[in-house]
């Protein structure tokens, strides 16, 4: 028996039971659809995380002030305030590959302009900050080293904060009051989107760190120091040199813990991608379960079908169908069902992913490889779950089968 004939017989049999075939295929449609949509969401999330990591900047090392322990309670990074401006200057001076350094202070506080007010992240940074984070200005200019030295009351504002305070108006040249200190806005930042941790990076007002420390926060210590190395290759070296330098400056004896933390962008990236990967695997696993359930559905229906069509099998055997002809027929019915379901499932999955992107705003990324793999997998599900019923059919005794009522 030729394959074309087998395929024709399979299609004929499926057509005879349209509703049942459709419902059986539905299991696979949903399974494949789920796999494609979920992997799409997972990939989208991964791509987003990667973009967020890139938004930290290139070859960036973050030095956080150590955590503070008081009565057994740890404060977060930067809580102890162990880093000083002198530390930052020492790094700039003594670590040769530290191309740019920005001391950082930050506070979450009320900012106001005119009759509008908004709670925003206020960052104190050096003039190098925008270069380190590869954050360009949409309008106006950044502040200068001079502004930093003079602790001028100038600010650069992020997109979200600007929209909240000024609506669609241009914020450049306007006055923003931070803790009742008026700052002149000199620049508007381009939008950067969500951070790795999920916060809105554009909800920000950046001022010179000197201004921030003196005029807003009244602090003498830093939360962190941002360091950019000249190239990716020197990241590890610079990390070691900073650690050695700061231990020396803070007079930390051998065997004692650092009172600061040095993290490279790569480490943060690894952490974040690991999280995204776990999520992708979880989503894929959940979706695969539904594909498995779909496969069991096929097996179930094929078993029913074999029982129901025992007489037909007997007739076919009586007129000369060999065991393998019958096996092939039922197997190709199962595979036809599952690959039809797979094809429709691909459409459903792509549609669902597009819908989620449009409605929920989730980024989805559908790769051709995930479509191909899901489709081939659905065909394989047909073979796997169709084999047992098909084998059962092929091993029927023709006499018994003909007598079956």
């Amino acid at each position: 028996m030729r394959f074309t004939a087998t395929g024709r017989i399979a299609l004929q049999a499926l057509r005879r039971n349209k509703l049942r075939s459709a419902l059986t295929a539905l299991g696979i449609i949903i399974g494949v659809g789920a796999v494609i949509a979920m992997v799409g969401i997972g990939n989208g999330a991964k791509a987003q995380v990667e973009a967020q990591i890139a938004s930290i900047g290139q070859n960036v090392i973050l030095v956080f002030s150590g955590s503070m322990t008081r009565s057994g309670v740890h404060s977060g990074w930067g809580g102890a305030g162990t880093l000083t401006v002198d530390d930052a200057q020492a790094i700039a001076r003594e670590v040769p590959d530290a191309a740019a350094v920005s001391p950082e202070v930050r506070t979450f506080t009320q900012v106001a302009a005119g009759n509008q007010n908004w709670s925003s992240q206020v960052l104190g940074e050096s003039a190098d900050y925008f270069a380190i984070r590869q954050w360009s200005l949409a309008d106006g200019t950044g502040f200068t080293d001079q502004d930093v030295r003079g602790a001028t009351k100038v600010a650069v504002i992020g997109r979200t904060a600007a929209r909240q305070l000024f609506g669609d108006e241009s914020p450049v040249g306007q006055i923003v009051r931070i803790k009742n200190v008026p700052f002149t806005i000199v620049g508007l930042l381009t939008a950067k989107g969500l951070s790795v941790m999920g916060s809105d990076q554009d909800d920000v007002v950046v001022v010179p760190y000197t201004s921030g420390m003196k005029r807003i926060m009244g602090t003498t210590t830093l939360r962190a120091i941002l360091v950019q190395t000249s190239d990716a290759g020197s990241l590890n070296l610079v990390q070691q040199q900073i650690t050695a330098l700061l231990r020396q400056r803070h007079r930390i004896g051998p065997g004692r813990d650092d009172d600061f933390t040095v993290r490279s962008q790569q480490e943060i990236a690894d952490m974040a991608t690991a999280t995204a990967k776990v999520m992708r695997v979880l989503l894929g696993a959940i979706a695969s379960v539904s594909l498995l359930v779909g496969g069991i559905g096929i097996m179930n229906i094929m078993l029913v079908s074999v029982t129901e069509r025992t007489r037909e099998i007997g007739i076919r055997m009586a007129v000369g169908a060999r065991g393998r002809d019958v096996l092939l027929q039922f197997l190709s019915e199962a595979v036809t069902l599952s690959s039809l379901g797979g094809g429709l499932g691909v459409l459903l999955g792509v549609g669902t992913a597009k819908l989620l992107s449009a409605v929920a705003g989730w980024p989805t990324l559908i790769s051709v490889s995930s479509i191909v793999i899901a489709f081939l997998f659905s065909a394989a599900v047909g073979i796997f779950f169709g084999f047992y019923p098909a084998r059962k059919a092929s091993q029927l005794d023709p006499i018994e089968a003909l007598r079956y009522e």
């Binding site: 028996m1 055997m317 009586a318 007129v319 000369g320 060999r322 002809d325 006499i399 003909l402």
Partner: protein
Amino acid sequence: MAAVIQLDDVHKTYDTGDVAVHAVRGVTLTIAAGDFAAVMGASGSGKSTLMNLIGCLDRPTRGRYALDGTDVSGLDRDALAVIRNRKLGFVFQNFNLLARTSALENVELPLLYAPDHLSPEQQRERASRALETVGLTNRAGHIPSQLSGGQQQRVAIARALVNEPALLLADEPTGNLDSQTGVEIMGVFQRLNDAGMTVVMVTHESDIAQFARRTIVMRDGVVITDAPVRGRTLAGGATS
């Protein structure tokens, strides 16, 4: 004439656990080409088992069976399927047509499993010719539920003929038909037989057996009578 069926001391024993059932206990039988034999007997006489053996649906426990000159007693399942496809045509009491499948497609069925692959057009043509033989050309597109019992049985006969078998095997072919339709079907058999087809038919109705040339009566797994039919009934159009 050459023997189509040559049975030599054929036994069939079913092992049902505790007791061995001797369904056929030593049948020796020769049926020549062009013969028309009716196998008769009460239920439990072993006639159905004998039919299954002759039809290559089952293998004898002991003895030798040559079909159309080929020893088939030692063949495996798949080889028997090929023999059924090439040498045998089956007609059943309950027609055994595929439901929701047109008469023409039902007749084409054996061709799907034929070793010499015919093109779909050739298959269609062969099937049409077989339907013509039983006078159902105008019903080719009908599905079994749209056909009368007699028409369904004629479709089944066309299906049995489509591979040009050496032997036509019929198991109670008139059992589900009224007597007039039964006579019509016997007419078809007699016509085919007159044209040279060897026919073996199982029946428990003695008046149906009268359409055959020869009756073989079985009891308790052995042949007790094997005699030519005297005063054969003719369904019309057939010659003695």
